[in-house]
């Protein structure tokens, strides 16, 4: 319990006030109803007190005091409107006005102009000296130096909030001004275009270009959630005339008003001309081959149909397959981008109309291995601690993840605690991401050697006796097995293979092991291997070994990729389980769902993503319903997958764009984008958050909930959902972990953490504090032996090919490549290579190269990136023109059935 501090007694304009010693004079002044200007102060950032527009008079003090920086003291006499204070504030505003110009009628709040108007400051009497430069080199943001008042809010936003460290305050005196890096153009700097500086700026000095061109019109604001990654930032869509023109970060528990470039500037895809606006029906003469049909040739392959026509054809064909070949010939691929309600209805449709468990989604491609290890060892696949818990920890391990690229806002909170020296960071990743600069230890280990490295760390911890014997004794089982297994992994022995010197391994083991509290974050660098489950097992064992789980500041967190991959999994979009991970093979569970859904259900585990493609290739699977997924880009070994899709008898694709996958469809149903519908979404932190409709879908595009229901109706299901809320209410009956969360609660709070059961009626931000949800209540150590990747480099294919993502693009790029800003920032496919490799290969640094594996080839421009480890090639998988997954290996982890996206053999040649 924190002791309440004794309140301070002081007087404000003669009135006695009692206030906390930590309160801010400015806040008290405003609460008391006095208005004084403030410009450099913004409650999101540290008070800096540089503008002096909020000065007040304090009796006995020689000079005036900035009320944004001062705290009350006993006996203090504060006067806000003494002649001295008032004239100083006016003079400050006059001074700032004299060196700035703001004729542009922009729609942003202009705090300097607003305060000057309030204080009736007309034309400045002072000679002017305006910096007329404009920097419009950044595709998203314009810098108008003529409006800059040097309040440094942008610097605090960039450096202290987002921790991107791009903006600085350079030069001195009247020459001092904000700069990007080394006084570079913003567009040529390391700026990641998160736009926090724009949100922070009190004038139009930093402004989003979308706002610059916006004419004055009525603005509507819709509070919602970001449609992109798993961080789940809350935001506001600013719309007018059914169009989003900007986005503002909202003070959500996972983002504290911060956003990244995707969230802030990637909203315009929903208004793109490529949006599907009417149902499309494949022309009978259009043959299916494994070739991708380009956007321009849609009309050659498809014709426009009505909704009734399209839905009827879809239902009829699926029914025919069912009656001819049975359930096994049908499958569904749902989507981690859709809402919980959509996921729930989709799997219910597959399981009840198709009577099969052949339903999966891209969680298979992200964290399936993490999930299988967590379920096996801990009995739960949810993150144990939320990202915000970094503020309570001492040591943070980030392994196999680039959070500043893929979870940018989460990364800011990690960087914040590191920069404030509150915690140490250990980064382990073959790619040197920008977090390396902030880390105490950066381990650039060789790809594929995770288990070696982690076992050696555990070896050291056990050998040096720094493991938590009490925790192991009381909370875990099978410790002996782990101890036996890691015995042989001496750091000295494995050092040469994983490329990390033994002393560093030991130091890392000591730092993590001896910490009182520690967190582990991992990403797909861990999970996307044929030994992904083993990788995750090692991480979980490491946490258990040191007792770093089940308390504040201690836990594990596989960073969920997509906005609702957690929720879609929770809602049963998985072939082995119903909602809340209840096994389809468990008789009791099945009976429960049969009762709820009113029909008999399949008792066999269904097919996973890759298995669906395999069965289609073998022509054993005939019909497929896809909602929002894009396997023709996201699956490994695309030549195989695309061939498989072309062999299907019948496929329905429901999407907002004509994706690469849609080209293989027989029926294409135009669906709704994120901002066009209501629904709940569960972020990586287990927060259930409410997305709200801001605009209507274009043309005849329909909300997905409606589409699923219409198809269900035609497949003979009698569903009577009248609202999204109805679906949510049924969903929470099937998933007790969210059983206590009501629609009203979400409407009110926007974000509620589960578990929040109908009994407990409260959120549990930290899991496993008392016990693990296993039979014994204990966690089980599952040791893992080192195994090599499925396909190793050799003479012919000497490089390791690794796929991943770019900051500006998301998933297969179907949305982000249709966002103007994002596409301008990162327009073309490139393959990243270490400069030394480029030199050794004797190829031109800015040339085009061919990447070739046993499965395919692609051409792309070369990107020199010293952060890429030698002998590896990195490529993002979002570019349709050069799809990285043409190269990747479909070999799967035996437990999680996740393919090995992070490792295959390839070679590089100059392109022809």
């Amino acid at each position: 319990m924190i002791k309440e501090k004794t309140p301070i007694k002081f007087t404000l304009n003669g009135k006695e006030i009692a206030a906390s010693p930590d309160s801010r004079l400015l806040d008290i002044i405003e609460t008391e109803g006095f208005q004084i200007p403030h410009l450099c102060f913004n409650s999101n950032y540290r008070a800096d007190g540089n503008c002096r527009s909020c000065v007040v008079e304090i009796s006995g003090e020689k000079t005036l005091a900035p009320s944004c920086c001062r705290r009350p003291e006993n006996g203090m006499e504060v006067y806000t409107h003494s002649e001295r204070a008032e004239s100083a504030r006016k003079m400050v505003l006059e001074m700032l006005g004299s060196d700035t110009k703001s004729d542009q009628a922009t729609k942003k709040n202009h705090e300097l102009r607003d305060w000057s108007e309030k204080l009736e400051i007309k034309n400045s009497r002072l000679p002017t000296n305006i910096d007329k430069r404009i920097d419009d080199s950044n595709p998203a943001i314009a810098v108008n130096y003529e409006e800059c008042i040097k309040c440094t809010r942008c610097i605090r936003a960039c450096r202290e909030a987002q921790a991107n460290d791009v903006i600085g305050f350079a030069f001195r005196g009247k020459e001092s001004r904000i700069v990007f890096d080394l006084d570079d153009n913003m567009g040529a700097s390391t700026c990641v275009s998160c736009g926090e500086c724009v949100q922070a700026c009190p004038t139009n000095a930093l402004i989003s270009k979308t706002e610059l061109t916006q004419k004055k019109q009525k603005v509507e604001k819709t509070n919602s959630v970001c449609p992109y990654c798993g961080v789940g930032c809350l935001l506001t869509f600013n719309t007018s005339n059914n169009k989003i023109f900007s986005v503002t970060g909202r003070d959500g528990p996972s983002n504290q008003s911060r956003l990244c470039v995707k969230g802030r500037y990637g909203f315009d895809y929903i208004h793109h001309k490529d949006r599907l606006t009417s149902p499309l029906i494949r022309r009978p003469e259009a043959r299916k081959t494994k070739e991708i049909i380009p956007q321009e040739s849609i009309n050659d392959t498809f014709r426009v149909g009505t909704w009734d026509e399209a839905l009827d054809i879809a239902a009829e064909n699926l029914k025919n397959i069912y009656s001819k070949y049975g359930s096994k010939a049908l499958a569904g691929l749902g989507c981690a981008k859709g809402s919980n309600e959509e996921a729930y209805l989709f799997q219910k449709l597959i399981r009840t109309a198709f009577k099969t468990n052949n339903v999966d989604h891209c969680t298979r491609l992200c964290h399936a291995s993490s999930v299988s290890a967590m379920l096996e060892m801990l009995g739960s696949a949810a993150v144990s601690n939320q990202v915000s818990d970094v503020k309570n920890t001492e040591v943070i391990i980030v392994i196999g993840a680039k959070p500043s690229v893929n979870h940018p806002v989460a990364a800011t909170f990690i960087k914040n605690v590191i920069k404030d020296s509150k915690a140490d960071l250990i980064l382990m990743d073959p790619y040197r991401s920008d977090l390396a600069r902030h880390s105490k230890y950066y381990l650039q280990f060789r790809p594929d050697t995770d288990v070696l490295l982690l076992n050696a760390i555990m070896h050291t911890i056990i050998k040096e006796g720094i493991h938590d014997t009490d925790f192991i004794e009381q909370r875990t089982e099978e410790f002996d097995k782990l101890k036996e297994c890691v015995k042989e992994y001496e750091p000295e022995k494995i050092s040469a293979i994983c490329g990390i010197d033994p002393e560093t391994i030991k130091n890392v083991a000591r730092l993590y092991g001896k910490a009182k509290r520690a967190l582990i974050f991992w990403g797909m660098g861990v999970s996307q291997h044929t030994h992904g489950t083993d990788n995750a097992r090692c991480l979980i064992s490491l946490a258990l070994l040191c007792g770093h789980i089940g308390k504040e500041g201690s836990g594990i967190h596989p960073l969920r990729g997509q906005n609702n991959v957690q929720g879609a999994s929770d809602s049963g979009l998985i072939p082995m389980v119903y909602p809340n991970y209840q096994s389809v093979t468990d008789h009791g569970v099945r009976k429960k769902f049969e009762k709820l859904w009113g029909q008999e259900l399949d008792s066999n585990v269904g097919l996973t993503v890759i298995e669906i493609a395999e069965k289609a290739f073998e022509k054993k699977l005939k019909g497929l319903y896809i909602m929002g997924e894009n396997p023709a880009m996201s699956d490994p070994n695309l030549n195989f997958t695309r061939e498989a899709l072309s062999r299907l008898d019948f496929m329905v694709v429901q999407d907002i764009f004509f994706t690469e996958t849609a080209g293989f469809a027989d029926i294409i149903l135009p669906a709704s984008a994120f901002a066009e519908k209501d629904g709940t979404f569960t972020n990586t932190d287990r927060r259930v958050q409410l997305g709200r409709k801001a605009v209507d879908p274009p043309g005849e595009a329909k909300q997905d909930i409606w589409i699923i229901q219409e198809l269900a109706k035609r497949l003979g299901l009698d569903w009577q959902y009248t609202s999204v809320e109805d679906v949510f209410n049924e969903l929470r009956q099937t998933n007790e972990t969210i059983g206590g969360i009501t629609w009203n609660m979400l409407n009110e709070k926007d974000s509620v953490t589960y578990p929040y059961t109908s009994n407990s009626k409260q959120s549990e931000p930290i899991l496993f504090s008392e016990s693990f949800p296993t039979r014994s209540g204990k966690a089980t150590f599952v040791p893992a032996k080192f195994q090599k990747a499925n396909e190793l480099p050799d003479k012919e294919f000497p490089f390791v090919f690794i796929t991943g993502r770019h900051l500006e693009h998301w998933h297969t790029g179907s949305m982000t490549s249709r966002s103007e800003v994002l596409n301008e920032l990162e327009p073309e496919p490139t393959v990243s290579l270490n400069p030394e490799d480029i030199k050794e290969l004797n190829i031109n640094a800015s040339s085009r190269v061919s990447i070739i594996s046993r499965r395919g080839r692609l051409d792309a421009n070369l990107r020199i990136d010293p952060n890429v480890q030698k002998n590896t090639i990195f490529m993002a998988f979002c570019f349709a023109d050069s799809a990285a997954n043409l190269i990747t290996n479909e070999a799967m982890d035996p437990f999680g059935k996740i393919p090995e996206f992070k490792y295959c053999a390839a070679k590089i040649l100059p392109a022809n």
Partner: protein
């Protein structure tokens, strides 16, 4: 629109050659951000400039962002940042600086600069700089590290051409001589616990020794406050002597460094600081080398009993004489003053309680302890107590550092210590405390010069830098010079000072002044600036408005 493929990661990338060169040259320690300015000095000294590519490499080696390094480097005038090292290859690897502050202006600095520029052609460039602390030998130019007194275009050009860039030799009392004359006996008594900490504080309090950097805060009281802090404190010595007209610290440092060092070590012992920092202005090149070698000798002599002493070079920023700006600078950052509270005695360098002292204050500590508080306090005229080291320059016969009783009047100082006014010159006015202390007219010739005695005039004696103006001078010219100095030296952080100094400079150039507007500017600067620079910068302007009205109407 043509798509631009990104062929490298965002922003500038480190050039591995620069990285290797800097690794060899400085081997920067990423855990020592506080050494950033020292590292920049090494690069500047070695190459004569700092290229952006070197900044990029240094940032990577220090695990800092580029902007953090750049904003620091660009703050200090002694770092010359260039786009690429290819640029200006033919330029000499040192700078040629011409002082244009008060006394140098009086002695023709602008003519001097023009003269040098005429001789140099385009072979080298000259920069104007603020006071380099040689006002008694004005005008002054600096070639590399070589300060040229009584500079003429010819002797400056000759120094450049002959690459005479080393500082002139100084001959202070060496450690051996100091020890022979009984030096360090008081510090040794401290180490042997023969003196008590509280007694020393009492002696200081009774002596009336005040902070001689200009603020005049009682030294004994300061030691007491810092001693009472819970965390273990640090000691910082301010030798960033930069107030135009001031050169007393240099004088004592060049002659008797050990007297000051002993004072510092006594202070360090009293407050139990294990780590002392000496912040030396970069213009005092010869002192830097001397201090390094004398402190080396000291550490050999005292061994482990000596506290850690780090010398930090300033880099051409007057504002770093302000104690919190100096602390920022020691931390390796831009020298921007901090908001108070918290006071640095509670939370200063590296967030620890900090005792910050001007060098001269510490210089007197040994004598006061050895000779007693009365010895010091008994000096003084007109009720003032103690001694003051006046740096006198301008229209007098014997400019220089003159140790005189506190409370002396300017007339007495000129007549008794400076040999009177220069022939043919009549006292017209004077700066009692450098550029920031304001300007008094001849009618104030009998006012006592001490802390607080000039309050009613709006002026102060500060660092006791007396610049004497004669009937050949106009106060407004020097007020403008002072304001221009503050424009150059303002850190740029707060609006009143950043904008006020600049606007005032613009307005003060017109023949007749907009008195109301200038008064408004001066008021907001005084009332609302963050630090003493901004609060005092308008003093000369106010003085002209008050005492030299006839010049501006």
């Amino acid at each position: 629109m043509a798509k631009k493929v990104r062929l490298k990661p965002r922003g500038r990338q480190t050039d591995s050659r620069d990285k290797n060169i800097l690794s060899d040259l400085i081997n920067p320690d990423p855990n020592r951000r506080d050494l950033l300015i020292e590292y920049l000095h090494v690069i500047q000294d070695k190459f004569g400039r700092i290229s952006k590519s070197q900044i990029t490499a240094l940032a990577e080696l220090m695990k800092l962002s580029m902007s953090e390094v750049y904003e620091t480097a660009s703050f200090y005038h002694h770092f010359e940042i260039i786009e690429s090292s290819e640029e200006e290859k033919n330029q000499p690897q040192f700078q040629v600086r011409v002082c244009d502050s008060l006394t140098c202006q009086m002695y023709g600095s602008s003519k001097l600069k023009k003269g040098i520029d005429l001789l140099s052609g385009s072979n080298y460039k000259t920069h104007n700089v603020s006071c380099v602390g040689r006002c008694d030998k004005a005008p002054v130019a600096v070639v590399g590290k070589n300060t040229i007194e009584y500079a003429t275009p010819t002797n400056v050009d000759r120094a450049v051409k002959n690459k005479e860039i080393k500082p002139a030799q100084i001959n202070p009392i060496s450690l051996d001589d100091y020890l022979k004359s009984g030096g360090y006996s008081t510090f040794k008594k401290c180490l042997a616990n023969k003196l008590h900490r509280n007694d020393i504080i009492e002696i200081l309090k009774n002596s009336n020794l005040k902070g001689l950097g200009g603020a005049g805060f009682p030294a004994g009281l300061k030691w007491e406050i810092v001693s009472k802090q819970k965390k273990s404190p640090l000691l910082v010595v301010n030798i960033d002597e930069g107030e135009p007209g001031t050169f007393k610290d240099k004088y004592y440092l060049e002659t008797e460094p050990h007297t000051f060092l002993e004072g510092m070590m006594i202070a360090s012992w009293v407050i139990k600081s294990k780590h002392n920092y000496i912040y030396l202005r970069d213009e005092y090149h010869a002192c830097l080398d001397m201090l390094h070698s004398e402190i080396d000798k000291l550490s050999r002599y005292f061994g482990a009993e000596l506290p850690i002493i780090e010398i930090r070079r300033g880099a051409g920023a007057y504002i770093c004489g302000e104690e919190s700006a100096m602390i920022e600078s020691i931390e390796g950052k831009r020298g921007m003053p901090r908001q108070r509270p918290p006071y640095i005695a509670e939370r200063g360098l590296f967030a620890k309680p900090t005792l910050a002292h001007n060098m001269e204050t510490l210089y007197w500590v040994r004598d006061i302890i050895e000779k007693g508080s009365d010895w010091f306090a008994n000096h003084g005229r007109r009720g003032s107590k103690g001694l003051r080291s006046f740096s006198v320059s301008g229209r007098v016969k014997n400019p220089g550092v003159h140790l005189a009783p506190a409370g002396i009047s300017v007339m007495e100082l000129i007549d008794e210590y400076c040999g009177g006014m220069l022939d043919g010159h009549k006292l017209y006015g004077f700066f009692p405390g450098g550029a920031s202390g304001g300007i008094l007219s001849a009618e104030h010739k009998d006012e006592p010069l001490d802390f607080g005695t000039l309050n009613k005039t709006g002026c102060f004696i500060g660092s006791a830098a007396i610049i004497v103006l004669s009937d050949k001078d106009k106060a407004r010219d020097y007020a403008l010079n002072a304001m221009k100095f503050f424009v150059r030296e303002s850190c740029g952080q707060c609006t009143p000072c950043r904008v006020g100094t600049e606007k005032a400079t613009m307005l003060m150039q017109s023949k007749s002044w907009d008195k109301n507007l200038l008064k408004d500017i001066s008021t907001v600067m005084r009332d609302a600036s963050i630090c003493g620079l901004g609060q005092a910068a308008a003093n000369p302007l106010d003085s002209v408005l008050k005492f030299f009205k006839h010049e501006i109407e």
